[in-house]
Subunit: 327 residues, 2 copies
């Protein structure tokens, strides 16, 4: 920058002004400076700028696993919106490891990110809020933590579960098994709540033995479905925590020669790409993953720009998608 100032015959300040389009600079000198910038191929140092302004133009994105298509889609939304607003994104994929997650939060603090978007299911509410307390601008995805000054973006999991279960009941099912995913997760609790609420609303008693928690993977779904179907062979429909679990459930049904959907219906959740490609294609509930990322980023940037957002919450609508696995 000193070189530019010297070559253009102006002060550092004027160069700074031209670069940042700030303050008034005569058109004449502006052109002169820009020409030198061009000629010298000068790029300002974001580092130095950050030190001086105390803003870095970066945000952190914390996900359990970026190779999980759900979080990859959310990340895409975050990346898109951040790009539009001129922010850079630090990717932190914690491998579902709470220790690593805490390290990331600390590292992001050292990097002086302007804000932080966290998808965290594993960390306890205390640990997470303890770690995040040091960050002023935080948005939580699919998680509610009381007493934490943070924005929240949530999919309407409960309503989605209601839609799916209602569809199953309407198509004649009365004994509906639930493969409920990890018991501690917010989505799992919300979907379970929706399942239970609709059943009772429609006059079907809630039976705890029809609910089985499982890992949110196809393996988890396969095992849990096998066990549940052994205990309760009278089940005629399975509502699965997510599409991967549903894929596992399809395999378990195939292994037991249970035709889907004729003998047993199967429904998933999320509508990831796989859902439409398996056989039979899955009835599921579409969660606007990309939009979750976009909204979380918008909310975060709002905070960064000084709006309070005291525990503001955005709930995004979901949509029933009926396919052959539960027509």
């Amino acid at each position: 920058m000193a070189d530019v100032a010297r070559e253009a015959g102006v002060s550092l300040m004027t160069v700074s002004r031209v670069i940042n389009d700030k303050g008034d600079v005569s058109d004449d000198t502006r052109q002169r400076v820009l020409a030198v910038v061009e000629r010298l191929d000068y790029r300002p140092s974001g580092i130095a700028r950050s030190l001086a302004t105390r803003r870095t133009g970066t945000i952190g994105l914390l996900v359990p696993d970026i190779s999980n298509p759900f979080f990859a889609d959310v990340a895409r939304g975050v990346a898109d919106e951040a790009y539009l607003e001129g922010y850079s994104v630090f990717l932190c994929s914690s491998d579902e490891d709470t220790a690593r997650e805490l390290e990331f939060v600390a590292s992001l603090e050292e990097k002086r990110v302007d804000g932080l978007i966290a998808c965290s299911s594993r960390l306890s509410a205390e640990d997470l809020s303890g770690a995040l307390a040091r960050h002023t601008n935080v948005v939580l995805i699919n998680r509610r933590i009381p007493d934490l000054h943070a924005g929240r973006v949530l999919a309407d999991d409960r309503a989605g579960a209601c839609l799916v279960v209602e569809h199953l009941v309407r198509t004649g099912h009365r004994t509906i098994g639930l493969l409920a995913g990890p018991p501690a997760s917010y989505s799992s609790k919300a979907r379970l709540a929706g399942y239970r609420a609709v059943l009772e609303e429609l006059g079907i008693a809630f039976a705890p033995e029809l609910v089985r928690h499982c890992a949110p993977t196809d393996r988890g779904g396969e095992e849990a479905a096998a066990e549940l179907l052994t205990l309760r062979p009278d089940i005629t429909a399975l509502f699965c925590y997510n599409d991967l679990v549903a894929v596992g459930a399809l395999r378990a049904c195939a292994a037991r020669q249970l035709a889907v959907p004729d003998r047993i219906a199967v429904a998933g959740f999320d509508d990831i790409a796989i859902a439409a490609l398996v056989v039979p294609p899955l009835t599921t509930c579409r969660v606007p993953r990309h939009n979750i990322g976009v909204e979380a980023t918008k909310s975060l940037l709002t905070q960064i720009n000084g709006e309070p957002c005291n525990g503001c919450e955005i709930v995004l609508p979901v949509e029933l998608v009926v396919r052959a696995s539960a027509p």
Copy 2:
């Protein structure tokens, strides 16, 4: 930091030494400083440190689309290895947009990343090397650019194509269609080369009309397969650019009532999660995506640490995976 120094009754320098475990500090003062650091909850500013040391401890990761499972897996590998070595990763998902890609490269320069990993297929060799020339440490994934001082990490696409096509020929196929993906991409060219080489090696003439380029998506595969099968109904096997294209091909076959694999065999490439879950499960070639990310990061960090790596190249082996779509 000034606070810490004052409270501990030492100089700034000593605090710096303790924090960085550098230079000799008496055990006594070290403990004292650490206690104050703890008490004041002090975190050093990475920004200020970066300005002073001219190293940021960050790298950039440039991908066409983070929601594409291929790149999500690569990103996971990069994130894992970077974490192990204490580096942070800037995620740049360019949405296959060359303009955005160039902006990212410029932005990463402003952020003063220590290095850059690029998966870029769209940008021309000149544009890409022009942009990257300003970065000293670069690793390219699945791309060879001459005259660019950069490390390279490649999957052995050619060998993989050979394995798949050889398998098809060995199982009796002589008229093998190729859905070849985007003509400009490195992988597409390499896989085409392998296809052609094996055919000729096994005494089967290469027929250009059996080759059809397409978008690397299920839609692209479906359309291209439909067209190719109309032109050449004598085809008995389809070798597809990747698994998504193969999924599209499966759909095209189903639409024409061509039983897979009895009437026509279908093979994909990459072995993404979907490959094992569709019906019939896909014969494919496993590409070590996570490991590509890991090796690219290792190579980049080696460069950052001063080893020359003048156009060094790492070729990662691939593996044939036989499933029901081409047994």
